[in-house]
């Protein structure tokens, strides 16, 4: 019975959270966003005390039921092990306490050092998020695109197709390697990963030792057949001594159904020790709070002076002699930004760095293909903003809504539109109207904050009453002699990248966004 309930709930949670991770339409987020927020590490990083308290109380009552039901990585391992059709495949092994606790300590140290991504490499939720985000989400999208093609055939708008592209090869490689390791461990030894590596498992293990309801063994009824031990994926039933290691038991209930002699039951067992179970927990929390933000990195003055872009050949209009056909469009290339751009809501580069466990939820839910995993070591696999495929559209705040760890804090659309994450920098050498007698102004037309104006190149011109540019003698200017160029009001610019993305110059735009280390409201 316990096992059936557990299985039902686990499958329910697992499927839905997986959908949450692959969904790109925002539908899943509206209903299932809480599933990511009740994950232990995201709750800890975002200081979500309600969830933390709930999880601790849950564990104190029922043991590590979290690992069996709520944690998608745990359920994934059960699923992998289920494919191995072999009876009695496990056996008891003593706990590897040294390894468990050293991994826990190291990951805490990494978190304190602000290397969220490194600690995130073994955090269960972010690991699962990366596996799904990099390996499953593209397949999901391809499936969706197939449906969209069918829908198009029937004139239906039920599905629309989306771009599928490799956002980061290193994130994919990391996800693949972790998946392989976990899969092999799960195949051979069930929950080995959870009970030796996973820091959440170790932490909850400390609590679950003192759980009120547990698997209780009646040594007198036991016939030492070891059926339960051999089917315990957590390897925590020691028949020799008639003991269960409650720090490793994930309350799956498999053993209960194995015992033919009624020696195992799920129920109360008197507390053995009176140690305060929550002690180690609260200590961790304190350590977290010590991270203060005092970011003061150089301002933009430095930035504009940096000649950082590879030279871009200006687009030359091809001469038209026949009708029809398309000019080829070169792909945009990512400019080398002195400061990377972080998503609006992430408050500062430092906040993102220390809170993000690189679960890829934001990356996969970004509908504008703006977010992708960072490849630099400092912010490895954490979200990075770039505008080669789209820009941060004014009506979207999805990444800030999905983030479960508080690395990207929730912003309303209005707040998002007034949050400055960077500013646009103009590159004269690349700009069409600055170099040719042609009009453009596409950056100006698409700037959502009106931070870009088109002005004559050079002083001595002003706008007359009718809003037209005239020279000192109030004569309209000769468009062939005077070039009209874009100028940026850095104070009004929010760094959304519309200008960079829609600039006709390729592969490197004539205007691009430099990130700010600390976001501010304009």
């Amino acid at each position: 019975m316990l096992r059936k309930i557990r299985l039902t709930l686990a499958i329910f949670f697992w499927l839905l959270i997986t959908w949450l991770l692959v969904d790109f339409t925002g539908t899943a987020q509206a209903y299932l966003g809480w599933m990511a927020r009740i994950q232990f590490m995201p709750a800890l990083l975002s200081m979500n005390l309600v969830v933390l308290l709930f999880l601790v109380v849950l564990t104190l009552l029922f043991g590590r039921i979290y690992c069996s039901v709520i944690c998608p990585l745990g359920v994934m391992q059960d699923a992998i092990a289920w494919f191995r059709h072999k009876k009695n495949k496990y056996s008891y092994s003593p706990a590897r306490e040294t390894l468990r606790f050293s991994v826990l300590v190291v990951s805490i140290l990494l978190l304190v050092a602000g290397l969220g991504w490194a600690a995130g490499l073994i955090f269960p939720y972010s690991t699962y998020g990366r596996i799904v985000g990099t390996m499953v989400a593209p397949l999901y999208k391809l499936g969706n695109n197939a449906l969209a093609a069918i829908a198009e055939h029937y004139d239906s708008y039920a599905f629309y197709s989306v771009d599928v592209w490799l956002k980061s090869i290193s994130a994919l490689a990391i996800a693949l390697v972790t998946w392989l390791i976990i899969a092999v461990l799960a195949w051979r030894g069930g929950r080995t990963w959870c009970n030796t590596i996973c820091p959440v498992g170790t932490l909850l293990g400390l609590v679950s030792r003192h759980a009120r309801l547990k698997v209780v063994m009646d040594a007198d009824a036991c016939k030492n057949c070891r059926k339960c031990e051999r089917n315990c994926k957590a390897a925590c039933i020691d028949i020799k001594n008639h003991q269960v290691d409650y720090s490793r038991c994930v309350v799956c209930g498999n053993c209960l159904e194995q015992c033919s002699f009624g020696a195992l039951s799920f129920g109360f067992k008197p507390m053995i020790d009176k140690e305060n179970a929550i002690y180690s927990e609260s200590k961790k929390k304190q350590e977290k709070e010590e991270k203060k933000e005092s970011v003061d990195e150089g301002r933009r003055a430095v930035l504009t002076s940096t000649a950082l872009l590879a030279s871009t050949a200006l687009l030359h209009a091809q001469e038209k002699t026949t009708d029809g056909g398309f000019a080829t469009i070169e792909d945009k290339k990512k400019p080398e930004r002195k400061h990377k751009i972080t998503p609006p809501g992430s408050v500062s580069a430092r906040n993102l760095q220390s809170h993000c466990t690189a679960c890829q939820l934001c990356v996969d839910s970004c509908p504008n293909d703006v977010l992708r995993p960072n490849s630099s070591l400092k912010n490895f696999m954490q979200p990075e903003v770039s505008f080669e495929r789209g820009y941060c559209r004014p009506e979207c705040n999805r990444c800030s809504q999905v983030c479960p760890t508080g690395a990207i804090k929730p912003l309303s659309i209005e707040e998002r539109s007034s949050t400055q994450v960077g500013h646009a920098v103009w590159i004269r050498e690349n700009c069409i109207p600055a170099n040719e007698s042609k009009t453009c102004g596409n950056c100006e037309r698409h700037c959502p904050t009106g931070a870009i104006q088109m002005v004559p190149d050079g002083d001595g011109y002003h706008k007359n009453d009718r809003g037209r540019w005239v020279d000192r003698d109030n004569q309209p200017i000769d468009m062939n002699a005077v070039h009209i160029i874009p100028v940026v009001n850095e104070e009004k610019c929010i760094g959304c990248g519309a200008c960079e993305n829609l600039c006709p110059v390729r592969p490197f735009s004539a205007i691009y966004v430099e990130g700010h280390a600390v976001h501010k409201e304009i």
């Binding site: 004139d155 708008y157 209009a317 002699t321 026949t322 009708d323 398309f326 596409n442 829609l502 006709p504």
Partner: protein, 460 residues
């Protein structure tokens, strides 16, 4: 809501006709014959085509002419190429059903139209004297303005068309760019004189011009008729821009009458405005169908203009076999439009169609390729399609706002790749002089873009 295309019209008219036929148990001549299942029982007539006589050469020209511009394409690797097998079939079918006038240009279909027509006509098995070829001197780019380049273009046309003479040669799109452009392209370089020589020696049987744009150029050309002896002139005319009382620069009536006065045969282009007079809102469909339920919406446009006596031929760019079949029916034989119906089309019907905010784009692709890679006609066609289907809501309060928004935006991404959409227009205006409909393309693109932005941001 489903788009009503001409195939649907045929289906609908089929069903309607079947019902009528059953009820009446008899058929009158000219009706479509159907069995009770709605299948056509008789073939599209092969021997009933209406012909007009060219007064100068005595050519017996079919009133339906084949515009070799909107050709079916297929994908070959990464490239769109003309589906030659399909066009061969179309040409053969057209010839078998009495169509004998084929109109092409060195510029059409990315420059591949002439060659494809040459192949299609050659493989049709019909001898050269059974059909008339019209092509043009399409020296639009300033690099082609010299005498030598013009001559080369004509000689290349002969090679591509696999022939040693052209039946109808046109100065292409005279009027665009004003008088100066005319001087640069044909007069000052002596090209027109040379073309007249070719007419003398028989390599050109009829010399004329097609007109779009500055009506002063049109007047100048006709004022010099005594000097050039135009054998025919190609104009745009249909019931929407007939404008009996309108300004002469936008009036098909004016253009046509100037020709009739002088006895110069008129070749009609854009009788259907690139499909804009067949792909119409449901309301207009009902309006036309009430009068003649069995006839397609397109047939009205063809019958209207074909009824003008001084028209030599009406050009239609027929991409699909069903278009060709329907048009052949409309002209085999042509049932003249009554005077009452003419007024009804020019007045009530035209007003009704013009009341929809469509963009006047006929999808001729003269503006293409855009140097920045935009799909200009694709954007306009999508917009017009949405207007006709009622998917261009005026505000968020509109009854079907959510569905219309989705249909517009999802459909937009489907019909035009994101990188070729309106938000990439730089307003360089390279396209503007090429547009025969005088659309201010950048302005219209920005209008579409602003609409898309409002839909995306939900701020309509």
């Amino acid at each position: 809501m489903k788009e009503y295309n001409r195939r649907d019209f045929l289906k609908v008219s089929g069903t309607v006709a079947a019902t009528t036929a059953l009820a009446a148990c008899k058929k009158s001549e000219g009706d479509i014959n159907l069995d009770p299942m709605g299948h056509h029982t008789d073939e599209v007539p092969t021997d009933k085509m209406t012909y007009r006589i060219n007064p100068k050469t005595g050519d017996r020209v079919s009133l339906l002419g084949y515009g070799w511009m909107r050709l079916p394409n297929k994908r070959e690797g990464n490239e769109e190429v003309i589906d030659q097998e399909s066009v061969n079939e179309l040409a053969k079918y057209a010839l078998a059903h009495g169509v004998n006038y084929f109109d092409t240009s060195p510029a059409y279909s990315r420059g591949r139209s002439e060659e494809s027509l040459g192949i299609a006509l050659e493989q049709s098995g019909y001898s050269r004297d059974k059909y008339f070829i019209a092509t043009k001197l399409s020296n639009f780019s300033s690099s082609q303005w010299s005498f030598e380049e013009g001559k080369k273009m004509f000689e290349r046309s002969l090679v591509n068309l696999r022939t040693d003479y052209i039946d109808y040669l046109l100065l292409h799109s005279v009027g665009g760019g004003g008088m100066q452009n005319l001087h640069d392209r044909y007069l000052d370089n002596g090209l027109l004189d040379w073309l007249m020589e070719q007419r003398e020696n028989g390599r050109i049987r009829n010399l004329g011009f097609s007109f779009h744009g500055d009506v002063n150029v049109y007047d100048w050309m006709l004022e010099h008729h005594d000097q050039y002896h135009w054998d025919f002139v190609q104009i745009q005319a249909n019931y929407i821009d007939w404008n009996r009382n309108g300004d002469r620069s936008s009036s098909g009536y004016y253009l046509y009458n100037e020709l009739e006065k002088r006895g110069i045969p008129a070749v009609i282009m854009e009788p259907l405005l690139g499909g804009r007079l067949s792909k119409v809102p449901d309301h207009v469909v009902a309006h036309l169908k009430q009068r003649k339920p069995e006839n397609s919406v397109a047939s009205w446009a063809f019958r209207y203009i074909g009824s003008k006596p001084n028209v030599l031929t009406v050009l239609s760019g027929m991409t699909y076999m069903e278009h060709l079949e329907d048009n052949v029916r409309s002209f085999s034989p042509l049932e003249l439009v009554s005077e009452e119906d003419q007024e009804w089309l020019e007045g009530e019907t035209a007003t009704l169609i013009k009341s929809y905010p469509t963009i006047q784009c006929n999808d001729c692709k003269y503006c293409m390729p855009c140097p920045y890679g935009l799909d200009i006609p694709g954007i306009f066609v999508h917009y017009n399609k949405c207007v006709n289907q009622g998917n261009v809501p005026e505000s968020q309060q509109a009854k079907n706002y959510q569905e219309a928004r989705r249909a517009f935006l999802v459909g937009y991404d489907r019909s035009v790749p994101r990188l070729r959409q309106a938000n990439h227009c730089t307003t360089c205006r390279e396209c503007v002089p090429h547009c025969p409909q005088n659309i201010d393309i950048p302005r219209e693109l920005q209008r579409v873009d602003r609409f898309v932005e409002k839909l995306k941001q939900n701020t309509l």
